[in-house]
């Protein structure tokens, strides 16, 4: 395996709400290899965004990181002070959150978003250089710099705004680009544009991409690795080809079968029965056991560890045995 650029160890995060505590990320362990593309897949409210927000330390005010470490280039980001964090944000790790439609300041032209970002990182570019750089990036995302740079956000369409955000994210050639649902809330054609764009970025640049999606088809198209999240836990991680050929976790099997059956249209769709777990009052043991046809007694009591299998994929399920002691906690 390649060197891990980002390493997450035992990360847990929760939200405090009136009704109690939402445990949205539990004991997460992840390694992201340099120059790889990883898709984080899961249903809505499975804790995908929380994981990313915890890693980038951008949880909403009621979110807390309760434990864990996030190593970027062997430094624990969670321990760094705000000023250090502010400096590595965007220069090293660029994170484009969901809700691209409202992420640009309505009172500022597009170009000023570039200018502010450059000036805030004390980079000595002249206004002209910033404009050049921004134009170059906008061309990369197939936008016409002449008109877009001097437009206000409300003059752009949803797909254009999403592309502006991606261009903005590439401003400092970051090592890691994190995207939360880059294609949701867009029409099919624009979705296809964005996917194509991300593919090009992946091909032409030294960049590590992590993106969140609930659309497993997009994950299949773009990602080298897929991380499946369920009920705030990582339940499976494998490379894309393997996971499609031979999904391990019963939930992943269900997920992949459900889209395969749509694609092949043979027999009736094999969707997963039941509802996703509440993160407020999660079931004990494996979070998937109430919906799992293979559930046994142990699944109701204990949370399975994420273990490494012989084919180097990882799964958190009692149906599998670890490949010779190499247990990830």
């Amino acid at each position: 395996m390649m060197k891990a650029l980002l390493k997450v160890e035992n990360l847990s995060a929760h939200y405090i709400v009136k009704e109690g505590t939402i445990k949205a990320a539990n004991n997460i362990n992840l390694e992201i290899a340099e120059n790889s593309v990883t898709a984080v897949v899961g249903e809505s409210a499975s804790g995908k965004s929380t994981l990313i927000e915890a890693i980038t330390m951008s949880l909403p005010p009621n979110g807390r990181i309760s434990s864990g470490k996030v190593f970027y280039k062997d430094n624990d980001i969670l321990k760094s002070d705000y000023e250090h964090l502010r400096k590595i944000r965007w220069t090293e790790i660029a994170y484009v959150p969901q809700a691209a439609q409202q992420s640009l300041n309505p009172t500022m032209k597009v170009i000023d978003h570039f200018v502010d970002t450059v000036k805030s990182h004390n980079i000595k570019w002249s206004n002209h250089e910033i404009r050049e750089r921004a134009s170059e990036l906008l061309k990369l995302v197939r936008l016409e710099p002449g008109t877009v740079l001097d437009s206000f956000p409300n003059q752009l369409s949803g797909g254009m705004k999403q592309r502006v955000l991606i261009a903005l994210a590439l401003l400092f050639d970051p090592k890691i680009l994190i995207l939360d649902e880059p294609t949701s809330a867009l029409d099919v054609i624009t979705q296809a544009h964005i996917v194509k764009l991300l593919k090009e970025i992946k091909k032409n640049r030294d960049i590590t991409i992590i993106f969140i999606t609930h659309d497993i088809a997009i994950a299949a198209e773009l990602a080298d690795y897929i991380v499946v999240i369920y009920g705030g836990h990582v339940i499976e991680k494998a490379d894309t080809i393997k996971i499609f050929k031979e999904p391990k976790h019963p939930y992943t099997k269900g997920l992949i079968n459900s889209i395969m059956s749509i694609l092949s249209k043979d027999d009736e769709p094999k969707g997963i029965k039941g509802d996703p777990p509440s993160l407020l009052n999660p079931p004990p043991g494996c979070k998937f056991h109430p919906r799992c046809q293979f559930a046994s007694e142990i699944c109701k009591k204990e949370v399975p560890d994420l273990i490494k299998l012989d084919d180097s994929s990882k799964v958190a399920c009692f149906l599998y045995k670890s490949a010779g002691g190499d247990v990830d906690e």
């Binding site: 951008s58 400096k87 944000r89 300041n105 970002t117």
Partner: protein
Amino acid sequence: MKFILNRLIYLLFVLFIAISGIFFLINKMPGDPAYGLAVSISQQRNMDINKALEIAHQMMGIDTGEPLFIRYVKFLNQFIRGNIGYSTYYQTTVNEIVAKSLPWTLLVVFISILISFIIGVYLGAFSAQKRGRAVDISISFVSSIIQAIPPFVLAVLILFVGAIKLRIIPLGGAYPVDMEPSLSMDFIISVIKHAIGPIVAISIPQIAVWTLAMRGNTPQIMEEDYIRFAMIRGVKDSTIARKYIRNNAILPLVASLAIAFGYMLGGNTLVESIFNYPGIGFYFGKAIALRDYGLLTGLFSLIVVGVIIATFLAEIIYSLIDPRVKVK
């Protein structure tokens, strides 16, 4: 475009109702609107009151034999031509009085609004940033206290402290009587000196209003996605506070700014009266005290016109800022 036209027609209708309202209110009153003028004429020229009444009616263009409705039509006709009435006390047209008083009111109102808006927006944004801390609590407390001071009371206090105790501002007028209006430095300085009292009296309550308004709509802005995205981009806090939070929080206030301007044309009556500052409000106060109904009708109509123009501007500004308004 249709929206703007609709609003314009609607506001003209409101203007018409307001002017008609005041006309009938005054003319339906028991007593003769020309009586006040007649008394002063009869005293000046030592004349019989009935004869003086006749002259007064002529001067004011009132034909008592005419039915009220005809007088109303004449009044409207004159109004549309821009002739908004005749002052019985000053024995001149209201237009003339407006011509010499409006510039002073505009000067005071314009400077006051500018000062109070800038200071209020700064204080409000600052207060919102420090929400819950001692500075914020004291700013809110002081603003509430200021709002509890009626403007005329504040004016009295400023006059007392500034003109009587400290003797730094004059007791009245827009410039010294012995000075010829010119563009000389001396004249400009003395104009500013005379305007300071009213400006401070108007600005202080306005600062409190803008501060509280700005402080009130800032938290909402801070929850917006673009604030979070700016933080994620590593934009400096000071830049976020200025360009992202403050500039967006100001937007809804810009429309109120136009309305405030309109209402201030007439809302300064007491302040201008207390400072003896010869603006619209001062003459309005005189017209009330002297029961000069011609002047009263004319000035009130002017004030309503001002408010209506301001409201109209505010609506246009608002529809530009918030596209959703147009749909309504």
